[in-house]
C-alpha cells in the first residue's frame, strides 16, 4: 500500500538568498509538477509545512521560503548538502491550458510571486502561445522583492509593472499598493488573471479588476492554508465544504469571492 504520509529524502543542492527573510532552496527531487502545485516539506525533528513549488527542471525543484514558522525558520539555518523530506506534489495548479491563445495578467504580492514563477517561466519559453502578458508585482519595500535578478529577462517577454509600498533609496519606480497599478493594464477583454498574494491584497485587487471589467470567472486565485496532510483528510484547510489542498489551492474568483471578503465567515463559500 502506498503510504502518502511518508516523505522521501531530498538533498539541498543550492541556496539563493532572495531577500533578508526569504531564500530559495534548490532541492534534488525529480518531481513532475504543474505550476501552482505545492509540496509538503519535512524538516525532520521540526515538522512539515506546505510550500509552493517556485521552479524546477525535472531533477530538482525550487522552493522559495520565507522564515515565518518553526519549519521555515529551521530550513533557513540549514546548508547545502543537508537533507529534507518531500511529499507531493499536491493541489490542482494554475489553469495554464485555459490561458493559451488569450491575454494573461499575472498579479502577485510579496511572497505570492513564488507559486507564479513557474507560470512566468512557462510563458517565457512558450511566448507565441499567449497574446498580451502583463506581470503586476507589488512588495512592501524594494529590498523585499523576489527574483529581482530575473526581471530583465522577464521584461523581454512581458509588460512588467512593479510597485512598492515604501520606497527606499534608489527606487525610481511606482509607489503604492498593487491596486494603484491596475489602470495601467492595457488588455481587459479576453484576459485570464492569475493572482497570488496576501489575503488583503487579493481582496482589493480583485475588487478593482472587477470594476475595470474583468469577469470574476476569469480571475484565478491561489489560497494559503496550513495544510497538514495535503490530501484532504486532516481538515485544516477546509473552508465552506472545499479542501484547499485537493480542490485548490487555485480557485476561480466567483467560487472564492465571498471568503476573501470575509475570510472567517462560512457564509462566504456557500455557492
Amino acid at each position: 500500500m502506498n503510504n502518502l504520509y511518508l516523505p522521501f529524502l531530498a538533498e539541498i543542492k543550492e541556496i539563493r538568498e532572495e531577500t533578508p527573510d526569504t531564500k530559495t532552496f534548490v532541492i534534488s527531487a525529480p518531481l513532475k509538477f504543474k505550476p501552482g502545485q505545492f509540496v509538503e516539506l519535512s524538516v525532520f525533528g521540526y515538522g512539515e509545512a506546505p510550500i509552493s513549488i517556485s521552479g524546477g527542471n525535472g531533477e530538482c525543484i525550487e522552493l522559495t521560503i520565507r522564515a515565518v514558522g518553526n519549519v521555515t525558520n529551521k530550513i533557513h539555518r540549514m546548508k547545502v548538502g543537508d537533507y529534507v523530506g518531500i511529499r507531493g506534489p499536491f493541489g490542482n495548479g494554475w489553469p495554464i491550458e485555459k490561458v493559451e491563445g488569450k491575454n494573461l495578467l499575472i498579479a502577485a504580492g510579496g511572497i505570492g510571486l513564488a507559486p507564479l514563477k513557474p507560470v512566468i517561466e512557462h510563458v517565457c519559453q512558450n511566448r507565441d502561445k499567449f497574446k498580451e502578458v502583463t506581470l503586476l508585482y507589488g512588495a512592501r519595500k524594494p529590498s523585499l522583492m523576489l527574483f529581482k535578478y530575473k526581471f530583465d529577462e522577464w521584461s523581454k517577454h512581458m509588460n512588467l509593472l512593479l510597485t512598492v509600498d515604501e520606497p527606499e533609496n534608489g527606487w525610481k519606480g511606482h509607489v503604492g499598493v498593487v491596486t494603484t497599478l491596475c489602470d495601467k493594464i492595457k488588455h481587459v477583454s479576453d484576459t485570464i488573471t492569475l493572482m497570488c498574494g496576501p489575503p488583503i491584497m487579493m481582496k482589493y485587487t480583485s475588487m478593482v479588476l472587477i470594476e475595470l471589467g474583468f469577469p470574476p470567472s476569469e480571475i484565478y486565485l491561489s489560497l494559503e492554508r496550513n495544510m497538514k496532510c495535503g490530501i484532504g483528510i486532516c481538515g485544516h484547510c477546509a473552508v465552506g465544504g472545499v479542501y484547499v489542498c485537493k480542490d485548490g489551492p487555485v480557485f476561480s474568483l466567483n467560487r472564492a469571492i465571498r471568503f476573501i471578503e470575509k475570510p472567517h465567515e462560512v457564509q462566504g463559500v456557500l455557492d
Binding site: 504520509y5 525532520f44 525533528g45 514558522g69 537533507y83 492554508r225 483528510i233 485544516h236 456557500l270
Partner: protein, 372 residues
Amino acid sequence: MLFNPLKTNNEIFITNYGINFTKIVNSVMNMGVKIAKNRISEFLDYLRRRYVLYAPIEKDGISKIGKIESVSEIAFLPYRTKISVKPIFFPPEEKFFKFQKKDGWFELEDYLLQIDEEEKAIFGLRGCDVRALEVLDRYMLSEFQDPYYRKRRENTLIIGLSCDYPRESCFCTAFGGMIPNRYDLWFTDIGSHYFVDIGSEKGRELVNSEFFEEATKEDEAKKIRKINTVEMEINRRTKIDLCEIKKCAQEIKKKANDPIWEELGKLCLSCGKCNFVCPTCHCFDVKDVTNIDGSEGERIRAWDSCHLYEYAKTSAENFRKERKARVRYRIYDKFVFPVMRYGVYACTGCGRCNEVCPAGINIRDVLRRLIS
C-alpha cells in the same frame, strides 16, 4: 419500524473503495435467525477463536470498545458505550514513522508495517457507531486513502446490537433509527433470544454455525415491536427529524447569519471536547517528537479540534478567529458540507457531544432551532 426515507434498499449504499469490505445482501430476501441467550457466550467464544474480537467493556465507570481476551470481559450494556469505536481505527495519537540521523542522512522506518493485519470482529456496536464508520470511510478512503486507517479498517466484521433503551443524550432516530444500512449481523434482544438480521454474505456464513436457529414470524414481530418501542421513546424525547437530508442541509445553510451563532459563541469555551468524543471527527495535527539531541524522533499525528483558536491559522492570518465562526464551522461541517460533498451527514445522533460539553451546549437544541 418508523417510516424512514433514509432506510431504502441496501443495494444503493454499496460503495466500493477498492477494499474487501463485506458485501451486502438484500436482507429482505432472508428470514432472520435467532440465537438463545444462554448460547451467546459460546458463540462469542467461537468468534474470538476465529477473529480478533472487539466488544464493549466497562472499566472504572467508563465504557468503550476494547479487545477481548475472554468473553467474560464483555459488558452487555443497554445502550451505546461512552467512548466511540473511532479510536480502534483512528487512534488519538498515531506514529507515522521513525527517523534516525545517520551521517547527515536520515533513515526512515515506516510504522505502517507494524500495524497487525488482523481480521477483526466487533460485537455489540450500536447503530450510531456503525454509521459513524461509514462516514469515516468516506473521509479516509475517498480519492486519497489514509493507509493507517485502511489497514485497520479492512476485513472488519460488524455484529451490531440494538439498544434496549437510549441514553439521555441519544437522538439516532433523527438520522434513520437504530439499525444502519451496512452490517454483517444485527442482534436485537427479544426476551429469551436475540433476533439476528443478516446483512452480508460473511454474516450468512456465521449464522450457519450450530448456535443459531430459524426465527419464526412471532420472533420477527417481537423484534419490530422492540425496535419501535425504543425508537419511539427516543423520538418522544428529542423531536428532531433530519431524514430529508438535502432539505435540512439547505435549511441550515440558510442560517449562516442567524443570531444563534453569536449566542453559541458566547457559551462555547473552545475546549474541543465535542470533537474528541465525536465518532466522525477526523481532523488531526502532524508533528515531530524527538529525543533530546534531535538525532532521532517520530512523526506523529494527533487528534485536532476545529474549535481551537490555532486551527485555521496560517502565516498570513487566522481564518476563523472569532469563536462564533468556529462554532458555526463545526455544525456546518457536520450538517452542510458533508452533504454537499458526500451526500451524508457527518453526525449520527450518538449525543456524546451533549454529554461532555462543559458549557451545556446541546446539539439537539441547536438543530431544533436551525431546522424550525
